[in-house]
């Protein structure tokens, strides 16, 4: 049986101007229902990939398939309806004069009946923990609160593909965990929902299904979190973070303390204290 592919990039290249290549011959597949994390240093081309997938930028060469269809000028608007995006900065995506209006804005565009709209707005504002703020002005919310509202607005439209462009980077640790838990929960409820998350959060990448590492516009690593993170030195060379104990072990080894290398707090305590 053929696996369903939500997004496929085939030999995509792109440059913001003619003499620059920002994306260099990148190909990858994202299966339907998969949680993909795209990681890479700042300027590696991660956000550019997100903009190419949504048709906001046009590639120099190569094809992009969304849900089995090759994206063209004629179908880009229709295909884009399947994609919800949450950008890095929520201020760039606010439209309504209250939180309620803002979440409802996308629904109005989709011609959802007004009586249903209210229930949907209630449901999603509740899910992101912003129900008590429905009548507040978005401009008076803090960055993190705005981001929760943006997430509610995107999810309320039931997209098949949700792209998150560092959308938790402004939240406090508890808020961040709350949003990631929420995304995982929603994914469980709708197992066809495909998530493409651009992130520096190593834990988020660890908890995802599929990790792609981008550096200087090229695809460097592509695999499961275990496959990707097993190559610690490579990750460090790429200016990326690695999990705590992998980092600790490298330092212990460098200081001639290799016998204390551990993969968990428990084993570290055992080796050092007993």
């Amino acid at each position: 049986m053929e696996e369903k592919i939500a997004v496929e990039l085939k030999n995509i290249s792109f440059g913001y101007s003619q003499d620059i290549t920002n994306i260099d011959d990148i190909s990858f597949k994202v299966k339907r229902g998969e949680y993909l994390t795209l990681i890479g240093h700042n300027g590696s081309g991660k956000s550019t990939i997100a903009r190419l997938i949504t048709g906001l930028l046009l590639q120099r060469s190569g094809d992009i398939n969304i849900l089995g269809e090759t994206m063209t000028d004629d179908n880009v608007l229709r295909l884009r309806k399947n994609i919800g995006i949450i950008f890095q900065n929520p201020d760039n995506q606010f439209i309504g004069s209250s939180v309620r209006d803002d979440i409802a804005f996308g629904l109005e565009n989709d011609c959802v009946a007004e009586d249903r709209m209210e229930a949907i707005v209630d449901e999603y504002s509740q899910k992101v923990g912003m129900k008590n703020f429905l009548d507040k002005e978005p401009t008076n919310l803090s960055g993190g609160q705005k981001q929760r509202v943006a997430i509610a607005g995107a999810l309320a439209r039931h997209p098949q593909i949700l792209i998150m462009d560092e959308s938790t980077s402004m939240l406090d640790p508890k808020g961040k965990r709350g949003i990631l838990d929420l995304i995982h929960r929603i994914k469980k409820e709708d197992e066809n929902l495909t998530i493409i998350s651009i992130t520096h959060d190593i834990q988020e990448a660890y908890d995802s299904d599929h990790v792609i590492v981008i550096a200087s516009g090229k695809k460097i690593l592509d695999g499961t979190p275990d496959e990707v993170f097993n190559n610690s030195q490579r990750m460090i060379d790429l200016k990326l973070d690695i999990p705590f104990f992998k980092k600790l072990n490298i330092e212990l080894e460098n200081k001639g303390l290799a016998k204390y290398k551990s993969n968990s707090l428990e084993s570290l305590v055992n080796k050092l204290c007993r």
Partner: protein, 302 residues
């Protein structure tokens, strides 16, 4: 001289249905040459607080004093007093130009990269200094120094800020404030969205600025940064200042932390667990993984 807030409250959209009190009776003292972090949950009032430090927001009630600049509200009117000037009976409504305060205390917003607007990076960085009276030539010299300080080379100066990556734009925007050479540098979540190396380089930059005798105040959610770099920490919650203390005392105070969303950095928890199990390392020395390994080496080689 220093920064003093006395009973500062601030309400957004006062006298409208959207009125929201973001700061509630906050009093604090920040000494000269401080390296301080403001932490607290989303919406706790951190950003509102820092915007008071350069007069961008004026308190709804209470007083803000930054060095010799005193800002307050009296009978519903803004009052700007320069404490270096003799205070006669006759009160002049504005004793200082707000620009002088903004030059003294430079504020870098959240996502400063969204404020870039010029054709080239050079012009963008020069905008601030020129606005504060520098000549074209002086501004350019400042821009060249600033771009190097933030870790970009001079070739960036002729490029358009809009073709840079998010992290590079962030540095350019910060360079625009650094070029003003402020005595107090205030940054609202300066490392959010940067890759680990970018974050490290940015923090090393702020440390250099602090080491050169200035104050650095930053809003952050990153407890690893708090542990590793700053000397002092202020915790905000629901518009109130909960405490002003050292990172070590804060992360050790489990009773206090239980009432907040703050979690000590993982390296701190690891060190504490080792101590609780009898390893004789010094918790005060733990700043990051390197210093933890340093301490382990010390006790094991003794």
């Amino acid at each position: 001289m220093s920064i003093k807030l006395k009973n500062v409250s601030y309400t957004y959209s006062q006298k409208t249905p959207f009125a929201f009190e973001a700061l509630k009776n906050v009093s604090l003292n920040i000494n000269d040459h401080s390296f301080l972090a403001l932490i607290g949950e989303t919406g706790s009032g951190k950003s509102t607080l820092v915007q008071h430090l350069n007069g961008l927001l004026l308190p709804t009630s209470g007083e803000v004093q930054v060095n010799n600049f005193l800002l307050s509200i009296e009978n519903g009117k803004r009052k700007y007093v320069d404490l270096n000037k003799p205070q006669g009976k006759k009160y002049h409504k504005k004793q200082f130009n707000i620009k002088d305060l903004r030059k003294y205390a430079g504020l870098v917003f959240q996502f400063p990269e969204y404020q870039l607007f010029e054709e080239t990076v050079l012009k963008d960085i020069c905008f601030g200094p020129k606005n504060f009276g520098a000549s074209e030539e002086e501004a350019e010299t400042m821009a060249r120094q600033a771009i190097e300080l933030v870790g970009l080379d001079e070739s960036y100066l002729s490029r358009s800020p809009f073709e840079l990556s998010g992290g590079e734009k962030r540095r350019v925007a910060i360079a625009g404030i650094i070029a003003l050479n402020p005595s107090v540098l205030i940054l609202d979540e300066p490392t959010a969205g940067l890759d680990p190396q970018g974050e490290r380089e940015m923090m090393e930059l702020f440390k250099r600025i602090y080491d050169s005798g200035k104050s650095v105040i930053l809003v952050t959610h990153n407890m690893d940064i708090v542990l590793k770099y700053v000397d002092e920490v202020i915790v905000m919650k629901d518009g109130h200042l909960l405490t002003q203390t050292t990172p070590l005392k804060l992360f050790q105070d489990e009773k206090f932390l239980a009432n907040t969303a703050i979690e000590p950095p993982f390296v701190f928890k690891v060190a504490k667990e080792l101590i609780d199990n009898g390893l004789n390392i010094d918790l005060g020395k733990i700043k990051d993984i390197s210093s933890l390994v340093g301490e382990i080496g010390r006790v094991k080689h003794e």
